[in-house]
Symmetry: C2
């Protein structure tokens, strides 16, 4: 564990109201909400994005439930409404010339790195998607580490990791490190990793690479091992229809609670994988943005690789399905729960107790999962019901197969919308 | 820890004298010796190689101490001397079409995977070398995992890892897994990884990826976490001058004991990095080849990811220097030991106690480091003294720098050979 004793310690940034922060992947689900939130708090923000997240929707024949606008429109409206200008750098973080020149031009004090392929099922489609995910994520992060070393060595890296790095060990999960007593000796070591997809593994690889660079170059980094995010709105994205955030409900990019809410709204059974005892950490998107700010305002020391477990509550996926069922009933919706074969290779029942106190200690006030949040998600689903493609909810990517046919689009005749056909508005595949 | 209960268990291969074994990277230092040894034992061998190891010598302006022949010559002489034909597949394991068609064509029961960039300093030259090393190694291994899953699912993967994956924790190092008791609960988890270069990190990434594929696809794999190898000869490579093995002594590819022996032979001081208390596991090349055979003859079960620590003795690098000094004295050589600034970021004094009993239990009879081996290495150095370039021994790659100028070749005038200039024979840079 690097404590950075060799390096000059940082100014106390917690007293600095304004920071220059680059948000890599700032056009995505968490990235967009984070960029707006940080801009609203008075920080100077640059978004760095290559729009590949939008490209993956085209590839998979899916679309966000909510009709998001082009980033240039989003930024224009944000400036009109708030007077805050967010800078934009369009390019790929795996392109070092682009990334390093961006770092030099913007000169950030903090970098929030969301710019990775983030869907486990996408990484499990086939070999090309597995290789793409690992190369894209690992090389992007390596490039960022080198760019910081060369041009912004004092900049604080806030990296989005995942709770999925830990897997489901039969002991408590600690925040990044664990004290091990063994044969009469003791050390604090990185917590063992047992990731469950090529995507989750890419984050494990990143964590090891970042830890090493903090050690050899005295970089400062915080790895936010985030749980499963739910929700779509923040105070900022709710300001105007043009600022609306992504809401993915498909089997590849849709996170589980968001998908259940859409399923409940359109009257298809909730797709619980296997027994549903899979327990994970969850958090509201409004807490994601605040956690990132907390990390930025309390930076790691030079040479320190710090890990926070970023979630607020644990649930099993069956517990979530039951909660959605109950909330649906109150809205007059008949919600069925289906147990379908688990497409993933994972324990369907297991011990799970993960620590998550560090962000709380630094001031996080969690938005715990509530009926009103579930109501809100279902109401959004009902509002955009015409855009829902119900053929995109059942899992098509099986972990046990080396080649899943996810690229084969369903034919037009097999594609059904939950509403009457509205050719210009439905989410049917190309 | 996957115990493979879901998969059919293997035939008892320990009774099969003959196996079909593909040696990926079979033209390299350990790979060549392994291919010949396994061929001699009666196994049917295919070498898979793209000769990039020879290319790196050109890039760095170095060459093996020993004049190795083109692989086609080597294989022809081997067949003439023994009657054993080794098949050859020329191509890159990062090319899936090539690798998968090779697996289909040869149909191996075992694959020994040496085909990675294996030098820590090479990976630390600059960003391009770091990215190359991680992408080359990780993608090659991912491709191999997919090829096995698709075309040879019962084939046993014997993967070369490294003891460097563990770093230098303050507790005993176990073989791959450690039993952790924590807050009243217990689990057997992957041993925490603290690798010390982008190369060593690439092996950590591989280990996590392979463990996952054993779990989801029921592959069988043994990760040989190898220590630092010394020596150059085996019974097989000694049969004929045409079969001679590589012997790298340069600062990038030369392993520490081999480099010391060359330095002693030519009368330059031994280059001990820092205090020299860096303690590692070491083994003789003749044990490398036997360990690989032991792993092949006792394959992992379906679904099992097994880890063996493959070394026979622990030494600090200063202890090795003293041993070389003593052995040199007996040959009438005056050997100085220089402590130069450590180009690596590593503990120069630390606790180190790594377990290595699993291969012994399966029958390994170690060749412990002896004066006669040191004599032999120094005599080889003296024999090929004309090929030694003494400018290639001092470290030029500093872990603390993001850009090392290793690609800038020294000018002809700055290049000195230990012998009188012999333009056609010296190892001077291009």
């Amino acid at each position: 564990m690097q404590l950075g004793r060799l390096y000059p310690q940082p100014r106390d940034r917690s007293r600095e109201a304004h920071m220059r922060v680059a948000v890599l992947g700032g056009d995505g689900y968490c990235g967009w909400a984070t960029a707006l939130y940080l801009s609203k708090q008075g920080h100077s923000i640059a978004i760095v994005d290559n729009f590949i997240r939008r490209q993956w929707d085209y590839e998979l024949g899916v679309q966000t439930l909510t009709p998001i606008r082009p980033l240039s429109d989003r930024l224009k409206v944000w400036q009109e409404l708030t007077g805050n200008q967010i800078e934009l750098f369009v390019g790929d973080v795996t392109d070092y010339d682009f990334l390093s020149s961006t770092m030099k031009a913007f000169g950030p004090e903090g970098v929030v790195h969301f710019a990775e392929q983030r869907a486990a099922p996408y990484s499990m489609i086939d070999r090309k998607h597995a290789v793409f995910t690992q190369v894209n994520n690992v090389v992007g992060t390596l490039n960022l580490l080198y760019a910081l070393r060369e041009f912004q060595p004092d900049c604080h890296l806030v990296k989005l990791g995942t709770m999925g790095e830990y897997g489901t060990p039969n002991i408590d999960i600690e925040e990044g490190y664990i004290t091990i007593e063994h044969n009469g000796r003791k050390d604090v070591l990185p917590y063992p990793k047992q990731a469950g997809s090529f995507y989750h593994l890419s984050k494990v690889h990143d964590s090891h690479n970042i830890m090493f660079c903090c050690k050899i170059w005295g970089l400062r980094a915080t790895d936010l091992n985030q749980g499963v995010v739910y929700g779509t709105m923040t105070d900022e994205t709710a300001l105007d229809e043009a600022l609306i955030n992504r809401f993915d409900y498909d089997e590849v990019f849709g996170t589980v609670l968001n998908r259940y809410c859409v399923e409940a709204a359109v009257g298809t059974p909730l797709t619980v994988y296997g027994k549903g005892g899979q327990t994970r950490g969850f958090l509201d998107l409004r807490d994601t943005v605040r956690c990132v700010e907390i990390a930025l305002l309390n930076p790691a020391a030079r040479g320190e690789f710090r890990v926070f477990n970023q979630f607020t509550e644990q649930f099993s996926v069956l517990e979530l399905a039951r909660m959605v069922q109950t909330a649906g009933k109150k809205l007059g919706l008949e919600v069925q729960v289906d147990h379908i074969p688990d497409p993933r290779v994972e324990a369907e029942e297991h011990y799970y107790n993960a620590k998550h106190s560090k962000l709380i200690e630094l001031g996080l006030k969690p938005h715990l999962l509530s009926d009103s949040l579930l109501d809100s998600l279902m109401n959004i689903s009902l509002r955009y019901r015409d855009r829902i493609d119900t053929t995109k909810m059942m899992p098509q990517v099986n972990w046990r197969e080396a080649r899943n046919t996810r690229r084969q689009q369903v034919s037009a005749s097999a594609c059904s919308s939950a509403s009457e056909p509205q050719p210009a508005a439905t989410g049917r595949s190309r």
